[in-house]
């Protein structure tokens, strides 16, 4: 029982990181119906920005986190401007292929030696790890930090989306793009903001991932990115609470698979979940299925 509880705590930690990435997927998909494959790589860049901020510039952890978030927001916005905007009215698959291209580009470009380099790097811990024992459970301050920051950012996002005028415009664009435009909403501006916010969350996710699982490399974004996407689909893509729920489940599933079945099977189980969801309830747990109109 204690072992199971311990695994659930580990699952929550992983799930919080996935949630931060999944939110970016869901926001972008909600607005322009694009699976932004490059999102996992923005997450990777976030981890590296945090790495440099902590190690090279000796910034304190909160500043490093904000630096990584801002940096990723800028990168996300630039990617949208250069790669996705010219394809605004293209078929969805063309956009998808472009997103794959952007993803590969970021991975291979950052692997170049004058940038991040192709090697694994050990991530610096901004403070000493302290383990708290509650009964037979062990919780580290890192786990608490990851969890608290993730929750905090999600609350901020929820407030932004539901309470501010820009957030309302975002929801309007997601609901009906052309009507929103008729109401005087600047679609391009909203898309830019969406990419910025989503990428900033991914950047935060990258830094937290780096602290929690202290090893980074330029291809580290692929798997967490894909799994976060699975989480977004599981919860119902385009729905913010759905992404959080899905990410929580994915984190749990993955950790429990490693604990009770086999750690080599965890990727397979994660994507098995995806296939099952797509076949049984493609709209996701919280999504409403829509009927296709001719």
């Amino acid at each position: 029982m204690a072992y199971l509880l311990q695994q659930i705590i580990n699952g929550l930690q992983l799930g919080s990181v996935y949630a931060l990435i999944a939110l970016g997927y869901t926001l972008v998909y909600g607005i322009i119906r694009l699976i932004n494959f490059a999102h996992g790589d923005v997450f990777m860049i976030g981890a590296y920005l945090g790495f440099y901020a902590i190690l090279r510039f000796n910034l304190p952890f909160p500043v490093a986190l904000i630096f990584a978030m801002l940096g990723c927001a800028v990168i996300g916005i630039v990617i949208e401007k250069l790669a996705y905007r010219p394809l605004r009215n293209a078929p969805r698959i063309a956009c998808l292929i472009t997103a794959l291209g952007v993803s590969l580009f970021l991975e291979n470009f950052t692997s170049l030696k004058f940038l991040f380099g192709p090697n694994y790097l050990a991530y610096p811990r901004p403070f000493a790890v302290v383990n708290y024992n509650i009964g037979s459970l062990t919780i580290s301050n890192i786990q608490i930090l990851v969890f608290v920051i993730a929750i905090l950012l999600m609350i901020l996002l929820q407030i932004f989306v539901t309470k501010t005028k820009t957030g309302m415009a975002m929801r309007a664009v997601a609901y009906d793009k052309s009507t929103a435009q008729l109401m005087g909403i600047n679609i391009d501006y909203i898309i830019t903001i969406t990419f910025g916010v989503g990428s900033a969350l991914a950047g935060a996710g990258g830094v937290l991932f780096g602290i929690a699982y202290p090893q980074i490399h330029p291809f580290m974004g692929i798997m967490p990115g894909l799994k976060a996407f699975v989480a977004a689909v599981l919860g119902g893509i385009g729905i913010i609470p759905g992404a959080m729920l899905g990410a929580g489940i994915m984190g749990m599933v993955e950790v429990l698979t490693s604990a009770y079945i086999s750690s080599t099977m965890r990727d397979a189980i994660a994507f098995l979940v995806l296939l099952i969801v797509l076949l049984i309830k493609p709209a996701g747990l919280l999504g409403k299925s829509s009927i296709e109109k001719v």
Partner: protein
């Protein structure tokens, strides 16, 4: 008039056949005379393997319009199946490779049928994600395959596969693949495939069984991947699950997209050029420049999507790949 044009067609057909035979003899002579060294021989064969696999994906994506990101999985299924059979039976005669090729091809087809029937109901990006998930699951299974079949080697890789793939085998299969694909897409089922790509709802409305044809395209395309995988296994004599991961599926996609959607000629050119540049430049260029190759490919992909989304040869074909009385 018709008889003259018929004679013309006949002579051009003979010309093509003679050219192919000439090409084969010249390359074969250069190879046996060691003017093309074994390294380059392997690369030429690899180019053929990639061509077959890419033709399969072009059938699935270019002609039928079903976006698949799991192509490398079927390639891997073909590779492991053939390697398993040939290695277990300890065949050493290159002619017996046919058993492995057929087995790899058929198993890839069966699995494509089983997986295709449920997931081909999904559309565009959802299908992409589902096939991607399938590809990752298959790769994990390869990683753990040694638990059931120790001979497959799991994540340590499979070694000691008889090296039976010859240039002759590769060329024969490439020609067969081109012919099958050309004849298929010009047949009634082929037109049904294209109609599904153009407008699924409209083709269903005029009585095309879209599920059947989507599955047909997917299964045949995956069988191409399976047979290509089998050739690959006996070309390098070493298999590793890493060779069949998600990034390899993107490689094939890159060839199809660069060469051109629904263009056999484009795929032929793109596959050969892609392999020759990717592998060939490895010996010529300094390492610092080599890293940039992998940066340039994705950039090319993005640029093509922005400026010519159907690819360089999109929808166009060489004359000899035309079929029947097309007025060109």
């Amino acid at each position: 008039m018709t008889s003259i044009s018929n004679i013309k067609k006949q002579t051009s057909k003979i010309k093509i056949i003679l050219l192919v035979i000439l090409f084969y003899i010249v390359l074969q002579l250069l190879m046996s005379a060691q003017i093309i060294n074994p390294y380059w021989q392997q690369i030429i064969c690899y180019a053929g393997v990639m061509t077959i696999s890419a033709l399969g994906l072009n059938l699935i994506y270019g002609f039928t319009g079903q976006f698949s990101l799991g192509h490398a999985a079927f390639f891997g299924i073909g590779a492991y199946t053939s390697a398993f059979i040939i290695k277990s039976a300890n065949f050493s005669n290159p002619l017996l490779l046919i058993i492995g090729l057929i087995a790899g091809c058929i198993l890839a087809g069966i699995i494509a049928l089983l997986i295709g029937l449920p997931i081909l109901r999904l559309r565009s990006d959802y299908l992409a994600i589902a096939t991607l998930g399938f590809g990752i699951i298959v790769k994990v299974l390869f990683d753990n395959a040694d638990a059931v079949f120790p001979v497959l080697g799991g994540s340590r890789g499979m070694v000691g596969i008889p090296q039976l793939t010859t240039f002759t085998w590769v060329l024969v299969i490439v020609i067969l693949a081109v012919l099958i694909l050309r004849n298929l897409i010009n047949s009634a089922p082929g037109r049904a495939l294209v109609s599904v790509r153009e407008d699924e709802i409209a083709s269903e409305a005029v009585g095309v069984n879209t599920t059947k044809y989507k599955t047909l395209g997917f299964v045949i395309g995956s069988m191409f991947a399976g047979i290509a995988g089998a050739l690959y296994a006996h070309l390098y004599a070493f298999l590793h699950p890493q060779n069949f991961d998600f990034l390899k599926s993107i490689d094939v996609l890159l060839i199809v997209v660069l060469g051109g959607m629904a263009s056999i000629s484009g795929t032929l050119i793109a596959a050969v050029v892609w392999v020759l540049i990717l592998e060939g430049l490895r010996v010529v260029l300094p390492e610092a420049v080599l890293d940039w190759r992998l940066v340039i490919y994705p950039l090319l992909l993005i640029l093509i999507m922005i400026f010519k989304p159907t690819g360089i040869f999109g929808g166009k074909e060489f004359k000899f790949l035309h079929y029947g009385d097309k007025n060109e």
